[in-house]
């Protein structure tokens, strides 16, 4: 056990190029997916929090439920969509990073939307009367609330990032775990462990934990700073 750990640390300290390629891909896919999910999920969540329309409660329940969507299920669905025999096959996106980004975006959007809805709804409770008296339109409400809740929303964004980088089921299925091309930290860990090659698995695991810790530290620090600055 100790030797494995030492080998793992050696890989990290020497900045083994294999490890770097894998880590870089994980970040690229994660950041792209979270960016897209934010652009879709934040306005969606804010809209559901503020607007009144028939079926609003059903949509809220749906978004909350979709947060727990199993990643392999999303993986299979996207796989069938992107396969050459599938409806979107002509784009030839299967087994490539864009396919992984698509699958992860689908996974993260409900998370971002549901968190946003919760955060914005809490603020809306305080602000609703005042905004109504100023005759704000729906767009005015959504825009102002999103901006005012920006720090809490960044925390939601970091949560989305954590979910994206820890995910393995969907990216394995739609990416194919191709070496140097669609192999992320999580799929590499799965593969190397299956092969019984543990040092690389552990090295990547260390990086993954470090990333998750860093994200959470950033979230914590941001909230602290925002509290002090803006109250």
């Amino acid at each position: 056990m100790a030797d494995t750990l030492i080998e793992a640390l050696a890989l990290l300290l020497h900045l083994d190029p294999q490890v770097l390629v894998i880590v870089w891909l994980s970040f690229r896919v994660g950041i792209a997916a979270v960016t897209l999910a934010t652009l879709i999920g934040l306005p969606l969540g804010a809209f559901v929090a503020v607007a009144r329309f028939p079926g609003r409660d059903a949509l809220t329940v749906f978004l909350n439920a979709m947060m727990g969507l199993p990643s392999v299920v999303v993986g299979v669905i996207v796989y069938l969509l992107l396969s050459r025999s599938g409806p979107l096959g002509s784009f030839g996106l299967l087994f490539s990073p864009p396919a992984m980004i698509l699958a992860q975006t689908i996974l993260v959007v409900p998370l971002m939307a549901a968190l946003t809805r919760q955060i914005v709804e809490d603020a809306w409770r305080d602000y609703a009367q005042e905004f109504r008296s100023m005759r704000y339109s729906l767009a005015d409400n959504v825009g102002t609330l999103l901006y005012d809740c920006r720090f809490s929303l960044v925390v939601a964004l970091l949560a989305g990032m954590g979910r994206s980088m820890s995910e393995v089921g969907a990216v394995m299925i739609v990416g194919g775990n191709i070496e140097g091309f669609t192999r992320t930290m999580t799929t590499a860990i799965a593969l190397e462990t299956a092969k019984g090659d543990l040092p690389l698995s552990i090295a990547l695991g260390i990086v993954l934990i470090a990333v998750v810790l860093a994200l959470n530290t950033a979230a914590f620090g941001l909230r602290r700073w925002a509290m002090r600055r803006y109250g």
Binding site: I31, T35, L36, L39, S83, G176, A194, L198
Partner: protein, 270 residues
């Protein structure tokens, strides 16, 4: 400032997606996890790439899944080891230009103490009969792979329905995890020699039965039929098939060794 930030946020996904567009030529090779995990591709493909400039992207699945990927047109070339299934694939019109590439053999591995006494026979069917008569467990891959298909043929030849035997454990996973499980449980399993040689977590396992002609495991390569899937990169795919069956490619296969032991034997007909 806010405008700049906004613009950056909107272009970021495009940058990240675009950075991914590769200018070089490439093909998708669907193969089996055992072949991939043996390290053969890592050894062989850089040489092909250097010679032709074509990048080979390997998607490693079980044989059944690899063929299915070819059926859907999601791969350009297939390299698998299940002759009956390959022939069926070609007969159904999904594959063309099927050629023999190489072979290795299967082995039965089990606990050093060998409670089922497989070490004493060189007959694989006899070995399977002894397994069913004993209590030591057997782990099956259970994943429609070439290895799994061979294993099921042996049970059939032995006249045994493995699902009726209490020691039969179906893992539903690749060779590596199956070996992991066998090592942990002190169970027997059927493995391909390639994966076994590169498997690092052996614990108490060792080879208990080998050499039977029926353990012969041939590999075939073929192109996904461009008539069924016009987008298939047939030119580049054929270059790969030609190369791997050429004397040069065959020599590379023979050269691949782990700890001085050769894993695969050239099998292409000249």
């Amino acid at each position: 400032m806010a405008n700049l930030v906004r613009r950056l946020i909107l272009t970021l996904p495009l940058l990240l997606l675009g950075a991914v567009a590769y200018a070089e030529e490439s093909i998708v090779l669907a193969s089996t996890t055992s072949t991939d995990q043996s390290g053969l591709f890592g050894f062989m493909l850089p040489k092909f790439e250097a010679k032709t400039g074509i990048k080979v992207k390997v998607v490693a699945l079980g044989t059944g899944q690899a063929l299915d990927t070819g059926r859907r047109g999601d791969a350009d070339v297939l390299l698998v080891h299940d002759r009956p299934a390959e022939d069926k694939f070609v007969a159904e019109g999904f594959g063309v230009e099927r050629r023999d590439v190489m072979y290795n053999d299967f082995i039965v591995v089990g606990p050093k103490a060998d409670p089922a006494r497989l070490k004493q026979t060189k007959d694989v069917v006899e070995g399977f009969k002894r397994l069913a008569a004993g209590t030591a467990p057997f782990v099956s891959r259970g994943d429609k792979s070439g290895t799994n298909a061979a294993e099921l043929r042996f049970w059939k030849d032995a006249g045994i329905d493995p699902k009726g035997w209490s020691g039969y454990k179906e893992a539903g996973s690749g060779m590596g995890p199956t070996l992991n499980m066998s090592a942990a449980m002190g169970a027997y399993t059927l493995a391909d020699r390639g994966t076994w040689l590169s498997f690092k977590n052996r614990q108490d396992l060792e080879i208990v039965l080998e050499g039977d002609k029926r353990l012969f495991n041939p590999y075939g390569v073929m192109l996904v039929n461009p008539a069924k899937h016009p987008h298939v990169k047939s030119a580049a795919g054929m270059k790969f098939i030609e190369w791997i069956t050429s004397p040069e490619g065959q020599a590379v296969i023979a050269d691949y060794k782990i700890n001085g032991e050769q894993l695969f034997f050239p099998g292409a007909k000249p």
